[in-house]
Amino acid sequence: MSRVLTVARNAFREAVRDRVLYNLVFFALLMIVAAIVVGQISMDIETVVMISLGLSAISLIGLLIAVFTGVGLVSKEIDKRTLHAVLARPLQRWEFLLGKFAGLVLTLAVNTAAMAAGLFLALLVVKHSLVRSDSVVLVAIYFILLKLMLVVALAMLFSCFTSPLLAILFTGGIYVAGLFVSELRSLQLTNLTAQMQKFFAVISYILPNFGNYDVMGAAAHSRGIAGRLVLYNTLYTLLYCSIVLGAASVIFSRKDLK
């Protein structure tokens, strides 16, 4: 365990020293400021707009980091051969993967928290006071973080067996597909045979359902979110991540490195 943590600490340190991340976070904060401006002009739904835009910004930035850095976690090490000296340690390959994963997730958590703080500050500026129902935004942000965890896991999986470019494309592709999963399930096209419909239904359960994490409507309108949903989404994410990382470990453990 301590070995995993060692790798994680280092992965976190690497992310922190990467200047690109700061720029992205800054950009997100900028968007939140813009959201305030736009909110002022949109008669009487300023908080709705601000929360929507703010959450979108946090989600988008987080996704960019998750995909690009996630793919690089393994690819960069293989390409630059920094991996060789690390694997010469008494360290299992899966421990290495897990540590990298934990490090990036931690980084994302910190970034997201920073952007969330920015959003709450903006809310405070506009509303002049925060009420209990605003905590729904926290849940929305937690869901964004869960979503990012899953994206990182997928990025790592793909980067274990394809080139970095393809890994980015596949991860992005699965994310987009995952947004439409619920639509896939209820496909009502009349010219589909029953078998085709079943096929799509099966696919819809295998693909990661990223729509699960979208609670922007509730957050924007300060409507409550069931505790059960929080639990289920957390379990879903943990289970899916385990599957993906397990597969990645198996692939990575047999891979000939350069």
């Binding site: 736009v38 002009i41 949109s42 008669m43 739904i45 709705v48 707009v49 929507s52 835009l53 619920s182 009502q188 359960y205 295998i206 359902n209 699960n212 979208d214 609670v215 922007m216 409507g217 509730a218 924007a220 309108h221 409507r223 979110i225 069931a226 059960r228 949903l229 289920y232 989404n233 379990l235 879903y236 289970l239 899916y240 385990s242 599957i243 397990g246 597969a247 470990s249 198996v250 453990s253 047999r254």
Partner: protein
């Protein structure tokens, strides 16, 4: 290597179990989410002027996007059998403000804003507003006169205004000759089945949008069905005079030789005789349900 191989096989065997777990969790999540009544904010920025400012020279592109969203929004609501169309007006308002020459948007809005719930938004006033803007910025578009006239005729029952706008339209270059004819009918006869049929016929011919065409087609079918039923009721009356009682079924009427063959409604289903002895659309016909959701033609 051996340990690694064992681990790989174990993971492979656990995989289906994992996916089953995901499946069950997913169902629980879906239940929770459905209970949440998610309201998607279709229109975040409500100020068309602001959008115009923000999009600058790309306004027509933004207009197209809003227009597409409007169509998807409408389609999505219909599919999900959700009757709340309150975002339709803002979407169309935005689309036409950003691009005042977006004729399809005006035409779409004319029908689906004005028609009563559940089929439309039930806001003929907004439809009028939209069309007036369209006519102002596109003075040569006689089709919009047609659409505006239809709104006045069908929803607002203002036959004078309907005739007036049809007349204006008939004077524009390229206007179809029946515009003048329809104008006269409105002004003279007000509402009539024949007029309505002609109206919907023209709409059906001229629409390129599938939803509009479908809408017109069903209205036409219902009108025809109405006519058929009137005719059938006449025959039922003949039956009553001859046999001293209203008919119990269509077969009785057929057996009495009062009609040739089984009368079918425009959807191809046979008409039925109700318990009151009057003809009506069969419950099996798709027109039956549509009858209640579409405007009751007279």
């Amino acid at each position: 290597m051996k340990k690694g191989k064992i681990a790989a096989w174990v993971l492979l065997l656990l995989l289906p179990a994992g996916f089953v777990g995901l499946w069950r969790l997913q169902r629980k999540i879906s239940v929770e989410r459905d209970a949440m009544h998610q309201e998607q904010d279709e229109v975040l920025v409500r100020s068309p002027k602001l959008m115009r400012l923000l999009t600058g020279e790309y306004s027509p592109l933004a207009a197209d996007i809003y227009w597409t969203r409007a169509v998807q929004y409408y389609g999505g609501k219909r599919l999900g059998q959700d009757t709340n169309l309150e975002s339709l007006w803002p979407l169309l308002d935005l689309a036409t403000t950003l691009d005042s020459h977006l004729i399809p948007a005006y035409r779409f809005g004319a029908t689906f804003l004005s028609e009563p719930e559940p089929r439309g938004a039930g806001r003929p006033d907004l439809a009028v507003k939209l069309l007036e803007r369209g006519l102002e910025t596109n003075p040569e578009a006689w089709r919009l006169n047609q659409d505006l006239g239809n709104v006045y005729y069908l929803e607002l029952k203002d036959y004078a205004k309907a005739g007036q706008t049809y007349l204006e339209g008939s004077k524009k270059a390229g206007a179809a000759p029946w515009m003048k004819v329809m104008a006269a009918r409105f002004l003279e006869k007000g509402e009539s089945r024949e007029t309505s049929a002609m109206l919907w016929s023209e709409v059906y011919e001229s629409s390129t949008d599938e939803s509009l065409k479908e809408n017109a087609r069903i209205n036409l079918q219902l009108l025809r069905a109405d006519e058929d039923i009137e005719h059938l009721n006449e025959i039922a009356g003949h039956f009553a005079t001859r046999f001293g009682r209203p008919p119990h079924s269509m077969r009785e009427v057929m057996q009495a030789g009062l009609i040739d063959g089984e009368p079918l409604d425009p959807a191809g289903y046979p008409y039925a005789i109700g318990t009151d002895g009057k003809a009506r659309i069969s419950q099996k016909s798709p027109l039956f349900k549509q009858q209640s959701t579409y405007r009751r033609p007279f």
